[in-house]
Every structure is written in structure tokens, then in C-alpha cells.
């Protein structure tokens, strides 16, 4: 009985979050993050630099007493850096118990994309990292949906770092 109730509740919760993506911009491109991962969105904050980290980890911030690292999405995707302004946001995501902030140019909206409109990304053999999990279509717009697990995979971070060296 209790169990049924729980699973029912779970379903409910899942339903409300399923198929929803938080979209943000990096330059002209629109990216999406599964809303399940998103904890909150905050404005840009003073960032404490931590030495000896890869360039895309800007440092750490104080999020109400919790200290989390922040990653610049532009640098992570090998785009050129851009000065932060008041449109710049930090999206705090929680993946596999790791909290991390992602700095993006601007947050757009929460988008409903049904499963039918999500397709796997084209198989580009450029050797780049597969941070894009899938591509969503909605009203003439293309959203690149990020794979959060891969984004945070520290092995890749290491590899990338070695490659940079």
C-alpha cells in the first residue's frame, strides 16, 4: 500500500519534470539541460580562484555556505572567453552527488520537448568530446541537449588537460 503510494508519487514527480529542458545561450547557440539536474540559477558572483586547475574551472563560489566549483561553459567547449555581464548566469547542477555551477551567457527558458522531437546527434567524426547527448527540435529552433554526466566526468577532464599540455 505504502509502496504503491510511493511509486505513484515518484511517477507524479517524474512526470512533471520529464521532457523539460532548461535552455541557455552560448553566443548564438542554444543548449539545453535536462531539468532534473538543475538545482538553481544564480547571477554571476565573485569567484575565488583556485590555483592549478584547468582553465575552464574558474574557481569556487560560496552558495549560501556551500562551496561549489564553477565551470565556464564557453571555455569548456573551446569557445573564446567573453566578459561577464549582468545577463551572465550560473546554472547550478547536481550530477551524481557532485554540485557544480556552469557559467553561461544567458538563460533562456524552460522548454517542453517531447520524445518524438528528440533525435540523436549526427555522428560527427571530428574526434571532439561528446558532450551533446541529443538534439531537440521545437518551433523552428534547435536545442543541443547536454550530457551532464559526461560534462563532469573527471577522467575526461584529465585527458583534456593532458591534451592541452
Amino acid at each position: 500500500m505504502n509502496e504503491d503510494m510511493n511509486s505513484f508519487m515518484d511517477e507524479q514527480e517524474e512526470d512533471t519534470q520529464k521532457g523539460k529542458f532548461l535552455t541557455f545561450y552560448l553566443g548564438d547557440e542554444c543548449y539545453g539541460i535536462d531539468i532534473l539536474y538543475v538545482t538553481e540559477i544564480i547571477g554571476i558572483q565573485p569567484i575565488t580562484v583556485v590555483p592549478e586547475l584547468p582553465h575552464f574551472i574558474k574557481g569556487i563560489i560560496n552558495l549560501r555556505g556551500k562551496i561549489i566549483p564553477v565551470m565556464d561553459a564557453r571555455l569548456k567547449f573551446n569557445k573564446e572567453a567573453k566578459d561577464y555581464n549582468d545577463r551572465t548566469c550560473i546554472i547550478v547542477i547536481d550530477v551524481a552527488q557532485l554540485s557544480i555551477g556552469i557559467i553561461v551567457d544567458a538563460v533562456a527558458e524552460v522548454l517542453n520537448i517531447s520524445d518524438d522531437n528528440i533525435v540523436p546527434p549526427p555522428n560527427l567524426n571530428t574526434g571532439g568530446r561528446k558532450y551533446i547527448k541529443s538534439v531537440g527540435k521545437s518551433e523552428e529552433k534547435i536545442t543541443l541537449i547536454l550530457d551532464c554526466e559526461k560534462l563532469l566526468d573527471e577522467n575526461e577532464v584529465n585527458e583534456l588537460n593532458h591534451a592541452n599540455d
Binding site: 580562484v49 590555483p51 592549478e52 586547475l53 560560496n62 562551496i67 566549483p69 557544480i100 573527471e154
Partner: protein
């Protein structure tokens, strides 16, 4: 009911309770083993423990656990009820310790949310065999079952052992509870439970109040009948019964022995008819009540006096409390050091903020004190290890424990148990020789192992000392040299440096791998674990005389007194304990060697300089020594000078670890964590020990 983990709080309580019992049980066994027999008290206690485990495990549907407990309970029941019985003490202790191990594993499984699926078959068989043998040896097999039923019934229904045949009076009691008071059976049980102190013997009807839900109805309609035999004052008993909660009507009259006997007969008939059937889930609520009671009883006996004033609190809550106190300390600094307020220089504000500071630091001390736990439980575990190892290796070793009342932070306790175990194992396996070898060496054939804890400033020292063969300096050196760990010649190294080599990964002096140690993954793990909590390991030894290993661990991890310094835009916090002094040097005092390394001469001693901005590649305008400041830091007799832009002030800081993501990525050298400053910004805490320090000694 497959998924019984829905009952999280209940499960948690169960695991907690059972783990505690198991721990106490283990200690009890070790103590008893030393004496060589079970005292009556110990026996009662073990019986009670097993009974509790049996009950609560059955309630949680862990049948295997329950069955095993039941068997052991049976053994002790037989032993206890037959005082003259002869039994194989050593085997019994082994049996129970084995069961204790089994329970421990199962508890871990349950705690991790798995099903306790350990196979008890062999263990149960063993216990069963023991029981059968025990009965057989003492002529107590099945045919005498009837005899045994009686005392069992007696026990269950609280007959005080010191029965006095004469002077006892008999009373007939009927209690009627108020209507709608609910749970009549439990109320009745409470009455019975509490009256035991007053009476010699009490029988009651319905007899199965705690096992049978139906009894509620019977008590409701017919009342609760009791037959009491007591030497106590009639008035006392009546008074006690009068005080029963929800009492509607009390019929109390004196009666004679015959009536009592009659009641007894009726009563035993009932009893035999539903003899020892394992209770089912529907009755469980009552079982909990019962178990709780028994647990309380046992605790009271163990700690006699202080039992009532102790509560157990979930560690998570304490962690949270400490976090909050940490935040409070920061917030306090934020207010009292607010630059604008400080500029106003208001006297009353200063006074008030000093008061606030005093209270918050007292609060902090208090929270720290709450988290302090005595080392005794950890030390007690070592007795068990020594026992098991001495048996297996057939060595004779005595463990002496001193200072087990020394307290350290709960988090630290968890981290030192394993290293300590390693050290003890090493000491027995490698350190202490066989009895014969010892005789040849002119030592007492019995090996001595000392485990000592003591406070020393802000550290706690845990000293493990054996009187074994000691470390062979030359052998260690040779091995390390062959492994390519060192290049100096043996004359260039001092003893402590050589001994420290055994803490190196992959370094094992033992030629043969034994069950207990010698795989080369011992001491380096010890060193790592201790270092992870900010402690250090010191090894000292005299060849042929013994080895001493000292674990130096901090009292607490969470809050440190720190000096905040500024380098460019970054802020760093240096623990005050490692700062010796700070000063602004003149440029001409700086010495540069041909490789460009910089040093400074202070009072005739030469210290290397580490420029923080250079070390961490930070931007700063202050690169001139005469504008910046040097902070001399020291750890373990090694020191250096750190150069920063300026000092920002001293503050108590709450140590927070760096985010896991960063820690997983890389261990940044010299960073011990981070903390929040008064203005909400983050400061990085420097771990002085990880800098390139050098030995600076006065010649």
C-alpha cells in the same frame, strides 16, 4: 512485506540498538574469557542480550539472525537454570564470538540497505550441536523437558530469585481499566513489570497479554486478574496498584496459599498450551515495548548511576548543528567586523559584540564537546583483535590499555580504528616473537603490548608500544635502497627518517605473507589515513627491545584559529598553530643562491622563502619584499617563510573541504581546504606541511 525498508526510523533504531548490544556482548565475552568463567551477572546479561536480539530481529523479519540468537539464548538458559552444569567454556566463547562477527557483518549489510543474507546454517549447527552436547553431558535431554518448562515459566513471569518461603502473604487482585483507555494489555504489562520489585511472585490472567492481541478484549470484559505472593507491606502494594494509570476499579484482598496454588495451576496449563511459539508480526508492537524495557534494565545495571542522563543523538544532527554554529561564527564576524561599523567606533557596540563573541565561542566549545567521544570503545575492539591473533599465531601477548577515557572528535574516532588495528596486528605478527625466541633473548615469554592515549596540547597522542624484536635499521635501509626509495648513504640519515620508510607504500619487512599482515599494504595505509585527518605517524624503535608507534591526531577538525593573508585578489588562511612569526624583511637581507632560490637569515638561521604569488601563479602588485610580508611557518621541526602581500587579521575559521569535483580532479599541493570569511568571500586554507619545508636547526 518484501520491502521492509520502508520503516526507516525503526530500522535505524534496530541497527543502532543491536550494534550496541553486540559491542557490549563482545566486551563481555572478552572480559569473561580473562576470568575463565561467566559470572552470574554476565550470564544474565548475555541471556538478556540474546533475548533482545531475538525479539527485535524477528520483528524486523530478519529470521536468520533471530534464530541464531534464539539458539544461543537456549544455551544460556540451560546453563543459567542448572547452576551445577558443566560446560565447555572455551568452545562456547568461540561460538559466541563467531556469532558476534556474523551479527556485525549483517548489521553492516542492513545499514547499507541490503538484505542480511549471510548463511547461518553452519553457525546454527555449531550452536545446536553445542546445546545438544551440553544437554546430553548433563543428562538434561528431552525427557526432562517438563522439568525445564517450569523454571522457564517462572523466569518469564518474574519470580524474584530470593524467595522466602515464610512470611509471604498472598493477595488476589483484580484490576479494571477505564473504558476507552486502549491498549489494556500493555497497561497490564506495565503493572506487572513494575510490581516485580515489590513482590516475590506474581501470576496473572490472561497470561499471554504481551503476545496476544485478543487479551485486550478479555481484560476489557473480565478485568485483569493477578495473584501476588509478597513479603512487602500490604499497604505498599495497594498504594502501588492504586497509582496505575487509567485505573477504573481495584479489587484487592488478602487470600491464602491454596487459592494461589490453584491459580498457578490454571496458569501453567495456559502456559504449556501455547509453549514457546515464535511470535508473529501482529504482536510486534508489544515486543518492542518489552525489548525496550529490557534494554533499559540492562543499561541501568551496567552503568548503574548515569543511565538516565544520557541520550543518543543522530550524528547527522550533530554535524548539522556544528555547521550551523560554524555559520554563526562567520555571521558574527560579518557583523562585528563590518568595516562601516568599525569606522564608527561606538563603545557600546564594541561591548555588545565582545559579549556576543564570548557567547558564540562558548557555544562552539560546547558543540565540540558534544561531539567528543571517549576512545574506550575503539580500544576495547583491540582486545578482541589481540585475542584472535594470539590464538591463531599461538603467541602469548597481553594488551594493556591506558587513557582510554581520552576524548576525540567523533569523526576522528571513525578514522583511527582501522589504522590502529593495522598497527596492533603488525605488532603482534611482526614485532613480538614466539615464546621460545623471547626466552632465548632473555625476555618474559609473555609479550607485552601497550596501548595508550593522552592529550598533548591540541593533539591527542595514541601510543602503541610493544616489547618485541624492534625494527632493524640496516635491513630497512637495505630494502628501501633496493626498492629505489632512497639514495643517501645510511650515515646521512637519522634513525627516525629510516624508520619512517616503513610507512612507504609497498614496503613490507615480512618475508612471508600471513593471514594478518605482510602484504605491504599496511603501514602506508595507516599513514595515509592518519594524514587524511591531519595527523602524523611517528615510528621509533630499539632493536631487540621493541617498537613504539605514535599517532598524533588533532582533537578536532572543524574549527581552527587562522591568520588571513592576502595575495593579489586571493585570500589564504594559515593555521595559527603553524605560524611562528611574521615580519617585513629588508631587501638586503635576502640571500639568493646560484639557482635563484631565495633565503633569509633570521637570528643566525637560514630559512627558504616561498613566494605565494609565484607558487600559485597569481597576479599581484606586491612583489617587493619591503612592501609585502614574510610569515615564518613550521611543522614537525621543518620550516620556511611564506611571502604574502599583507596580513588581514586573525579569525576562527570553519574548515570546509574543497568541492569533491576539484578534489577528484587533483590534489592541489599545499591546500588543506577552504573557509568563508566575514564578508562571505572564500579563503583557501594552506596546509603548511605540504610546502617544501626544510630542516632548520641550530647547530
Amino acid at each position: 512485506m518484501e520491502n521492509s525498508y520502508i520503516d526507516e526510523p525503526m530500522l535505524e533504531a534496530y541497527v543502532y540498538e543491536t550494534s550496541q548490544i553486540i559491542e557490549t556482548l563482545e566486551q563481555l565475552m572478552i572480559q569473561s574469557e580473562k576470568v575463565g568463567t561467566f559470572s552470574e551477572e554476565a550470564m544474565n546479561e548475555i541471556f538478556r542480550f540474546m533475548h533482545t536480539i531475538k525479539g527485535s530481529s524477528a520483528m524486523m523479519m530478519f529470521n536468520e539472525i533471530s534464530t541464531l540468537a534464539h539458539k544461543i539464548e537456549d544455551i544460556f538458559y540451560v546453563i543459567r537454570e542448572n547452576k551445577t552444569i558443566e560446560y565447555d567454556f572455551a568452545t562456547l566463547v568461540d561460538c559466541i564470538l563467531e556469532s558476534v562477527d556474523y551479527y556485525k557483518i549483517e548489521m553492516i549489510k542492513i545499514r547499507n540497505g541490503e538484505r542480511p543474507d549471510g548463511d547461518t546454517a553452519s553457525l546454527t549447527d555449531k550452536v545446536n550441536d553445542y546445546l545438544v552436547k551440553l544437554k546430553k553431558d548433563n543428562g538434561l535431554d528431552k525427557s526432562k523437558k517438563e522439568d525445564k518448562e517450569k523454571p522457564k515459566a517462572d523466569q518469564k513471569y518474574y519470580i524474584s530469585p530470593n524467595r522466602k518461603e515464610d512470611q509471604a502473604k498472598y493477595y488476589k487482585v483484580k484490576i479494571t481499566f477505564k473504558k476507552n483507555c486502549e491498549m489494556e494489555n500493555i497497561r497490564a504489562y506495565t503493572v506487572i513489570h513494575n510490581i516485580v520489585d515489590l513482590v516475590e511472585e506474581v501470576l496473572y490472567k490472561p497470561s499471554d497479554i504481551i503476545d496476544n492481541d485478543q487479551s485486550v478484549d478479555e481484560i476489557r470484559s473480565n478485568g485483569f486478574h493477578m495473584a501476588i505472593r509478597s513479603t512487602a507491606h500490604e499497604a505498599d502494594i495497594q498504594k502501588y496498584l492504586d497509582s496505575t494509570i487509567f485505573l477504573e476499579k481495584l479489587d484487592f484482598e488478602e487470600t491464602n496459599q491454596e487459592w494461589f496454588k490453584e491459580f498457578e495451576v490454571i496458569y501453567q496449563d495456559q502456559e504449556i498450551s501455547d509453549e514457546i511459539k515464535i511470535p508473529e508480526t501482529s504482536k510486534k508492537y508489544v515486543e518492542i515495548q518489552k525489548n525496550k524495557k529490557e534494554k533499559e534494565d540492562s543499561k541501568q545495571e551496567v552503568t548503574a548511576t548515569a543511565a538516565q542522563s544520557i541520550i543518543s543523538v543522530n550524528v547527522d544532527k550533530l554535524d548539522k548543528l556544528m555547521d550551523m554554529v560554524g555559520e554563526l561564527v562567520i555571521a558574527e564576524a560579518m557583523v562585528s567586523q563590518n568595516p562601516e561599523v568599525v569606522r564608527l567606533e561606538i563603545e557600546s557596540f564594541d561591548k555588545a559584540s565582545r559579549q556576543l563573541h564570548k557567547i558564540s565561542s562558548e557555544l562552539q566549545d560546547m558543540v565540540m564537546a558534544i561531539r567528543m567521544v571517549a576512545l574506550s570503545t575503539t580500544f576495547m575492539k583491540m582486545h578482541r583483535i589481540v585475542r584472535d591473533m594470539t590464538r591463531k599465531l599461538s603467541k602469548d601477548v597481553v594488551l594493556d590499555v591506558y587513557g582510554e577515557e581520552t576524548e576525540v572528535d567523533k569523526n576522528i574516532i571513525e578514522k583511527i580504528a582501522d589504522p590502529l588495528m593495522h598497527i596492533i596486528r603488525n605488532a603482534i605478527d611482526h614485532g613480538i616473537e614466539d615464546a621460545e625466541e623471547r626466552k632465548i633473548a632473555g625476555k618474559d615469554p609473555q609479550g607485552n603490548l601497550t596501548l595508550e592515549a593522552k592529550n598533548s596540547g591540541s593533539d591527542v597522542l595514541i601510543i602503541v608500544k610493544d616489547d618485541g624484536k624492534g625494527l632493524n635499521k640496516e635491513k630497512i635501509y637495505e630494502k628501501a635502497y633496493n626498492l629505489g626509495l632512497i639514495y643517501q648513504s645510511i650515515e646521512d640519515m637519522n634513525d627516525k627518517d629510516i624508520y619512517r620508510l616503513i610507512l612507504h607504500p609497498g614496503f613490507s619487512m615480512k618475508e612471508q605473507v600471513t593471514e594478518f599482515s605482510g602484504r605491504g599494504v599496511g603501514m602506508d595505509v595507516v599513514a595515509k589515513n592518519i594524514e587524511s585527518i591531519g595527523g602524523s605517524v611517528i615510528v621509533d624503535s630499539v632493536l631487540g627491545k621493541g617498537t613504539t608507534i605514535i599517532l598524533k591526531i588533532p582533537l578536532t577538525l572543524a574549527i581552527i584559529e587562522g591568520m588571513n593573508v592576502k595575495v593579489g585578489d586571493s585570500r589564504f588562511t594559515i593555521p595559527i598553530v603553524s605560524i611562528k612569526e611574521s615580519f617585513r624583511p629588508l631587501n638586503k637581507e635576502i640571500i639568493r643562491d646560484p639557482e635563484g632560490r631565495e633565503m633569509i637569515m633570521v637570528r643566525g638561521l637560514c630559512y627558504p622563502i616561498i613566494k605565494l604569488y609565484e607558487h600559485y601563479g597569481l597576479q599581484t602588485n606586491v612583489q617587493d619584499y619591503e612592501k609585502g610580508i614574510l610569515i615564518m611557518v613550521e611543522e614537525d621541526d621543518r620550516s620556511c617563510c611564506l611571502m604574502a602581500d599583507e596580513l588581514l587579521g586573525q579569525q576562527q575559521v570553519v574548515v570546509k573541504s574543497l568541492p569533491n569535483y576539484i578534489k577528484k580532479y587533483k590534489q592541489i599541493k599545499g591546500l588543506g581546504g577552504c573557509t568563508l570569511l566575514g564578508d562571505g568571500s572564500i579563503s583557501l586554507i594552506l596546509d603548511v606541511g605540504e610546502f617544501e619545508l626544510s630542516n632548520v636547526h641550530e647547530k
